[in-house]
């Protein structure tokens, strides 16, 4: 079985994000592997270990992703492709999906495993759109993958009414939830060995396409500006006789906040 898994480098969401003049302040920011993509890589490696699958990683972006790719190598990925093109800095979800489509079509994959959303956009679209573009089945928010045979897998999906058990015919796309696994911290040995592994790097032209062809120059939607979120501030704190202050607060909840 041949598995393609995708990773994106995103801003570390642990940090404070500052907005100035409608744009994000870059200074002091650090970038890490998208958390859900880590789950996807872990899922791919687990399938490799259990079913001798061959795993390929594709990383998309406009920066040097060597560090996160090396980490994925250390986790157990077999091959890595990095699509590095400055144009991708302006890409939106459908555009990313198109690039993935090109990568998929250039190879021979049975299963694509992607994280369900990226921590910078929280869009959650690219994986599902990839399925639509390729015309192959896609199941999102997956929490378990079981291989039935060479051409079928069974997945469990976390839906609104409960857990759905779905029989999927390969080739297919699966987007995973963080509940699917706990990504391993790569073993030290893996990290050292990963330094020697090769990464295939190419830009969009190398992939045989162009930003225009994949629709990047005419995006369906575009960010106009960023705005800060109103920070939550503390309100009124009451100390004193419990009966008195409780009564006071309840009155406020009813009359002022109108939540009771």
């Amino acid at each position: 079985m041949k598995i393609l898994t995708t990773v994106k480098k995103v801003v570390d969401v642990e940090l404070n994000i500052h907005v100035e003049n409608g744009a994000i302040v870059e200074k002091g920011l650090q970038y890490v592997i998208n958390a859900w993509d880590e789950n996807a890589v872990e899922a791919a490696v687990q399938l490799k270990e259990a079913h001798k699958a061959e795993t390929t990683l594709v990383s998309l972006g406009s920066t040097d992703n060597t560090d996160i790719i090396r980490k994925c190598y250390a986790m157990g990925i077999d091959n890595a492709i990095h699509i590095d093109d400055p144009a991708l800095a302006e890409a939106d979800s459908p555009t990313f999906a198109r690039v993935l489509q090109k990568v998929y079509e250039a190879g021979d994959y049975d299963l694509v495993i992607a994280g369900k959303q990226a921590q910078d956009t929280d869009a959650g679209q690219a994986g599902i759109m990839l399925g639509e573009f390729l015309g192959i089945p896609c199941v999102s928010n997956v929490i378990e993958i079981k291989v039935t045979d060479d051409t079928h897998i069974q997945v469990s999906r976390l839906g609104d009414a409960g857990t759905e058990i779905v029989d999927v015919t390969l080739p297919a796309v699966v987007t995973v939830s963080d509940s699917i696994n706990e990504p391993r911290l790569p073993a030290m040995r893996g990290i050292m060995m990963a330094k020697k592994k090769k990464i295939t790097v190419m830009d969009l032209a190398g992939l045989g396409t162009s930003f225009e062809e994949i629709g990047g120059t005419a995006p369906a939607s575009a960010v106009v500006e960023f705005m800060p979120v109103q920070k939550r501030k503390g309100g009124q704190k009451f100390e004193g006789d419990p009966a008195e202050i409780t009564a006071q607060v309840v009155q406020l909840l009813v009359n002022e906040a109108k939540v009771l």
Binding site: D122, A172, A220, V224, M227
Partner: protein
């Protein structure tokens, strides 16, 4: 005139509140509205969909649609959108919406935006606002494509009880079953307990409650308020609360109208799970507890004294 199609949010045969919220907003924007219900035994919901504010109700009712399957669901919605000539298709915030919206967008050659909190139509220019980077910033986006498929964040719009529509049912042919991703079974999680993610009021218990007696006391309060009952990490680790009750960064993220934090200190990880609540009430005996930095109302006191008093006060106002 913009045509907005709202996808009905149905759980266990019940129409959820988000449908009315979306329809109210659509009407507020001056759009022509329609609703689409996809599922099994959903035809009876048509009058409710009309009352909620839709002027046309598209129904795709078939036993094969009982358990959610993304491809047929999206196909049915796309059919309705084409029939209605929809400019926008809106989903309520649900796994269904998140799974179907991107597909519908591709099929309609529309733009797709998830978790939007606002829509503005200015002539023929549409802007949406949505959170990004783990809710740390907001981004305003211009929709270039002629159509938009959106998933709306929970509680983003308010339902206007004055808003109403007309009954006008259009039956759709049931979509084809998805043989390539065939749903075999649904393991329901209906436990009778109020789902934390849906609840309007959530009461959570923390380490200050100490033991089972304390937990029971706080649960009593939650029951009195018909609220969802959640927990901080400490109580889950102590084995006093179930894992799926944990509110926090690594647990559930909730955004109720009222969040009552009892005996919870307010560590960053917990705050990440509940600071989207409209109003936060905190009860803690430590006046320096960080929770008071985000609580709208804070009661400094021993919860074993305060909770019974709270229950009494609530009984009074409910009477």
């Amino acid at each position: 005139m913009t045509n907005i199609l709202v996808v009905a949010d149905i759980k266990q045969g019940v129409l959820k509140g988000s449908t009315a919220e979306l329809l109210s907003k659509a009407k507020e924007l001056g759009a022509a509205t329609a609703a689409v219900a996809v599922g099994s035994n959903v035809t009876d919901l048509a009058p409710q969909l009309a009352a909620a504010g839709s002027d046309t109700q598209y129904i795709a009712d078939d036993p094969s649609l009982e358990i959610f399957s993304a491809a047929p669901f999206a196909a049915a919605v796309a059919d309705a959108a084409k029939a209605f000539n929809a400019d926008m298709v809106w989903f309520g915030f649900s796994e269904t919406g998140k799974a179907a919206a991107p597909r519908v967008a591709v099929q309609l050659e529309a733009a797709c935006a998830t978790e939007i909190i606002d829509v503005a139509i200015d002539g023929d220019v549409v802007h949406i606002t949505r959170p990004a980077i783990a809710n740390k910033v907001l981004q305003k986006m211009k929709i270039n494509a002629p159509k938009l498929v959106a998933v709306v964040r929970a509680g983003a719009f308010e339902a206007d009880p004055e808003v109403t529509g007309t009954e006008n049912v259009v039956t759709l042919d049931p979509p084809e079953k998805d043989m390539a991703a065939a749903v075999k079974e649904l393991i329901s999680d209906a436990s009778g307990e109020i789902d934390l993610a849906d609840a309007d009021i959530v009461v959570s218990v923390g380490r200050g409650a100490k033991d089972q007696a304390g937990v029971d006391l706080v649960k009593d309060l939650a029951d009195d308020l018909a609220a969802g009952f959640g927990s901080s990490r400490a109580m889950v680790d102590a084995g006093l609360m179930a894992h799926n009750k944990q509110v926090g960064q690594t647990g559930k993220i909730v955004a109720p109208s009222l969040y009552v934090a009892v005996g919870i200190s307010g560590a960053i990880q917990h705050l990440a799970g509940m600071n989207g609540a409209k109003v936060i009430l905190a009860v803690n005996k430590d006046p320096e507890a960080p929770i008071f930095n985000v609580a709208d109302f804070g009661i400094v006191g021993n919860l074993f004294d305060v909770i019974p008093l709270l229950k009494e006060e609530i009984k009074k106002i409910r009477a």
